[in-house]
């Protein structure tokens, strides 16, 4: 009987340790662009696309390029490889996930908000 408990506790400890390790190593913090420049691992930055600058597709690198401004007002060039999210232009803000390489933010993922689906925009219409 006791053996089962001991085995169980050991299993839990091992798995718990593994889960903890996996958790902390996969954390990508939400930071500003300034902090992202200093960070070493993957980070996430919330910002808005700079409208005045074009969103263009670079044929040589096969990456989407645009400019992002974060909540502090810092602007950066972003280079993204991956399928272009459908509502990129009119999302209110987006999250870029990746890291800085040589002064350009290389984004692996783009999280784009679905605009206004569940928003109460009623105030505008009154």
């Amino acid at each position: 009987m006791k053996n089962k408990w001991i085995i169980g506790v050991i299993v839990i400890l091992i798995f718990g340790g593994f889960a903890f390790y996996s958790f902390s190593s996969s954390l990508s913090p939400y930071v500003t662009l300034d902090e992202a420049a200093k960070a070493s691992g993957q980070v996430q930055v919330l910002g808005t696309i700079v409208e005045e600058k074009e969103i263009s597709f670079d044929l040589e690198t096969d990456r989407l390029e645009f400019y992002l401004v974060d909540e502090e007002g810092t602007v950066t060039a972003v280079s993204y490889s991956g399928p272009r999210p459908d509502n990129l232009e009119e999302s209110e803000n987006i999250v870029i996930v990746g890291q800085y390489i040589n002064g350009i933010f290389h984004a692996e993922k783009l999280l784009v908000k679905c605009p206004s689906k569940y928003e109460t925009v009623k105030e505008d219409n009154l």
């Binding site: 593994f18 996996s22 939400y30 399928p83 908000k113 689906k117 219409n125």
Partner: protein, 718 residues
Amino acid sequence: MIGNLGILLAFVSALLSGILYFRQANSQLPSAAGIKNYALIFYHLHVFGVTVASVYLFYAMLTHQFQYYYVYAHSNLSLPFKYLVSAFWAGQEGTFLLWALFVALTGYLLMKREKELLPAIMPFILLGQLFLLLFLILETPFFPLMPVPLDGMGLNPLLMDPWMVIHPPIVFVGYALLTVPFAYAVAALWKKDWDKGFMRVLPWAGAGWLFLGAGIFLGGAWAYRVLGWGGYWGWDPVENASLIPWLTATAMVHGLIAQKQKGLFVKSNLLLSIISYVLIILASFLTRSGVMANYSVHAFAETTLTYFLAVFFLGFLIIGLAFFFWRRKLLPGGESSPSLLSRRTSFSITLIVLCTSASLVLLGTLSPVLTGLFGSPAGVSESFYMQTNTPLFFILFVVLTVCPFLAWNKNSASEIFFSLKLALILLPLGMVVGYTAGITSIPGLMILAMFLLALVINLTYFIKIFKTGIKYSGGYLAHVGLALMFIGILGSTAYTESKVISLSPGQPVEAIGHEFTYLGILNEDGNSYFQIQVRDGDEVFIARPNIYMAGDRSMRSPDIKRTFLQDLYISPLDYQVGEKGEYFVLAKGETLELGNSKFFFQGFIFKQHANSDVIEVGALLEISTGDLVEEYLPALEQGTGGRVSKPVTLGNGDVLSIDGIDADLGLVRLLLESGDCSDKDEIFTVEVKTKPLISILALGTVLLVIGTGIAVWRRFTM
């Protein structure tokens, strides 16, 4: 007006009905026949109210009553009928109304089947309704707009897809049905009837689990076929939010079956019934309250809903746990199982593993909120979910393989032999199929072998039991489906190959084992289809990914070529028309010969606009072609807003523009582009992927749903 009245009526009658049912349940007197059951009468009124509101919303949607904000915000005059119907659940308020409607109707079904515990169950069902209806009173879909708009804003284009039409209703049927186990659990605790009365919940739990699972699969199918990133599950918080209660519901259903057969897991089942519904409320909280707004693709902005949903969540959590705590000493405890290799142990492991998985997914999903409490918020990447769930599901598969042999009572040898014979055929066959589809590494093949073994064993028992009666075979069929799903997940997740290629018309490019040739654009029904000829060995077919306009946005749609072994997924990334242009630099007074023309740069002409600091610089050029001599003045406008190029069109259709000037040195850089469209260089960039064994995954989900359906049907009709 009528819609709001319906909601109000539903709210008031739910309150009264709930109170009366509560009193009925509380009183020790048997209900005398002949005394009108007012609780039931108020319940009829409640259903009537919700139905009236729902029917009216449908009516308003179909007849374009744009004076209602909800109709305005989610439809327009040009929306086809089927999407007008689905616009009902396109937004917050509509989905709550749909949810309330489904629960109300579930109540009727419940009344047909449950007599004894009904008065104890109904108050908790109605309490949930009160929350939903209170929200609808505060945020009504019938909010009036003044002045009445002439046309609506239209439906979100991503929702205009058949999969997205049925996904929400199915999920909400699941939510509605899973209210029942919660209510049964609390009622059973109240009335101390957790062996016989509570057991009657099994079909409801199974049905709720079935619909929620089917809804989740539909969501994945939509993501794969419509969104274009080539995947079906992104571990996005909103996706996770519905997965977590589904995992605990899976545990609940299995635990209930064990309780039915051997009276086991009473405490766990009660808790799982409570927690699954509470997690559903949490799911709604996470997706709608704005807490996750910055951390998820789908999560929506913050509304007043936040506090409301928090109260809903906490209220039900506290009520459920309070009842459990009240009766905890009376509940049968679990004795330890006599041996490690018993069916009972396999059930225990299943429950523990599923709950661990649910907890980990919850932890990952809430990580931004949790880390935010202690420091700067951080999310977890996909790797966390995959790393932690892989060993868990590995354990589940070992159990899935071994469990059928561990009968409650005795083993029989005939099944073992049948399995061996089946394994001898299917295992090599499956390995060959897997290898051809792309599973080529040794670890992958070993894992595939394990999945195939689970498949074979469950298939054995399915066939055996199917012969004695189809009704009892549901569980095994579902497990066969599950094994197929995991084979499909292994193939499509670990062995997918992808490449980004740029295609020019007529020039074949080789990638991922296929040859792709871009043929050109085909315009049909307002869509632009980019035709790509794909050659795979001897097979040739035309793929048509497209880019189309929905309002003023461009939407991309992939094309998927499905075969048994793999899907070929083509996702349009970008389309550019590159101009064949030539740059050249001229100094003042210089002549350059290009083609059959001579370009002579006479000099700059400066103009300053009267009212601003906008300066226009023109380059005066004399262009002679043969005997024809003409003057052109391409210009550059420089102002505070930036530079604007003003090109000129030459006689032959070419376009000449200034690319840069150096006034001090008297130099101008010009760009000469062909005006002839056929000279333009089209470049179509796509991402092509192979997704091995997706068809097996799809087959697996279908069998899982059918198998579960059979099992639920059995429980309802037994």
